[in-house]
Symmetry: D2
Subunit: 175 residues, 4 copies
């Protein structure tokens, strides 16, 4: 779950919100199903240049102030069992311990979701693929500023990264 | 110059050749101008899974056998002063010394060219951008299997990576 | 400041405590002087395999329970302005954002302190040196399980990493 | 096999040669046994700042000129089946594809040999250990400028990296 803890207080944030809010509802449902199936949930979130912050503080900031991203964060509040990674740049793998965490969890596949589909999700998908993870992207669980850009990046990931693009409801955690 | 030493002997290689050959002519001219201006030229080339090979051998293989990529390699034969990097995966930064080489050269900008525009060039552009390099992509010096995919990846790099997309003739090495 | 937030509840922790407590007093004084001079202070701390924890929780755990490392943590409680990094392995550079943080801070030199001198400090010193940072190690601000091992690792770092080994009181932040 | 293709034309090279020559004889025997057992042999060699060179050229340079390291290189001439990696810095893992190559080979253990024991071998051993490789160091197949430093670094690697330190003749490739 990439950059979902996000105040969206930046240029284009309003456009992103339009697509991100319905996405967050789908993602909340997917997350509940993953947890029920015992699949680890990882928040990989930008530190937004606040190097001294920690993740719970980021969550609190979005929940207690009147920021644009608040309704999304309310839908996706982390649980005690969730993992989190503060990423300093676009890719969740760059200068973070995500690779090691996935190795420790024994993961060979990653389901990538969140914001923005054509930026941080794409960067992270590239880095997952290059590290030999199988990439799955539920098309209704990523959002970009424009629906057209979102559509194109899904096609790109399917073609170049051999990503499995599907609806979140089609993901079967039991298999 | 990404993956230009390439036999193109793979599925889709024929489609790629159609676009890669005119690209190689532009690139050869750009390379001559870069060398004249004292700008270092780096070949970042796939090792194609041949871990024991070295770069001169790859070049020779493409020049002495009747492979699809031969006319391209003939246009772009490396000079003694060129640098080369054998990359094991799509991005020229992944598990190579490119970052260190660029640091040693004092580079802050990289001009990315080569094949395939929507795969290895895109991966490398992402990794350059995340490492704070300014990315320049001459649109006539990258090629993809389809012209439409090439066009879209240029738009994506301009938008997401703030890449400067231009014609190779517009690049002014004297500035 | 490496692994100073540490319960020391492991084999050899008792031996380490003997050397770590006087070290912590010196380090607390050095930290105060660094802060007064505006030098950023970074805690690079093991996550001790608790991937879901954050740093403030680690600090609290050490302060509120009767663990071996508590007197050290009490001397070295982080301030609001300090940076922290949770490292998953020995080196503070491995799968963390330390390199990027130091780049953002404009650092070219690092003063390495903490525990254990011959393990995590050594690993981190290696990785700092290989990344072209100048390494400074105040001999009274690192501690190992045995004084002899600590002495030898200081000699090794001076010889191999060209580390500047000195007393903490000799470090002049004003220069 | 770390930095064995080496002209030894640097300060201290003469001291290193004294220990490196008998080491090379042991290593040549170990290499033959490894090859007979089908164990891949990897040369991880410094590029000595010559970014444009390739490995065969480095070998030739040492064989055809009257350099200090020549007798060592003659004992350890690479075979066609050997792998090689040009490393830009001390550790064979830093900005190289060694990790990926070992992954491709399915390796979980590495036998580290070569020069200098207390510098490049140590750096590489650290990086192997942190990446969860089991480290084996035949004590008669590494050499440092001083025998005492060599002895101490073996003790350090055994203690800190849990390296298996043994004689090369004790390594059983059949197990």
């Amino acid at each position: 779950m990439i950059d979902v803890i996000n105040d969206l207080e930046f240029d284009g944030g309003e456009d992103l919100l339009v697509h991100a809010l319905p996405m967050a509802r789908q993602l909340a449902a997917l997350k509940r199903r993953a947890e029920a199936a015992g699949i680890p949930v990882i928040y990989a979130n930008d530190n937004f240049g606040r190097w001294r912050s920690d993740f719970p503080v980021l969550v609190d900031n979005c929940l207690t102030s009147d920021v644009r991203g608040r309704p999304i964060v309310e839908l996706l509040v982390p649980d005690e069992n969730d993992y989190f990674i503060l990423k300093p740049k676009h890719s969740a793998f760059f200068q973070t311990n995500l690779e090691l965490l996935l190795k420790n969890l024994g993961a060979t596949r990653v389901i990538l979701t969140g914001l923005a589909g054509d930026i941080c999700v794409l960067f992270t998908a590239n880095d997952a693929y290059i590290r030999d993870f199988r990439v799955i992207v539920p098309s209704d669980c990523i959002a970009s500023e424009s629906a057209e850009n979102n559509r194109q990046v899904l096609i790109l990931m399917a073609r170049v990264l051999k990503a499995e693009v599907c609806l979140s409801t089609e993901i079967d955690f039991e298999m």
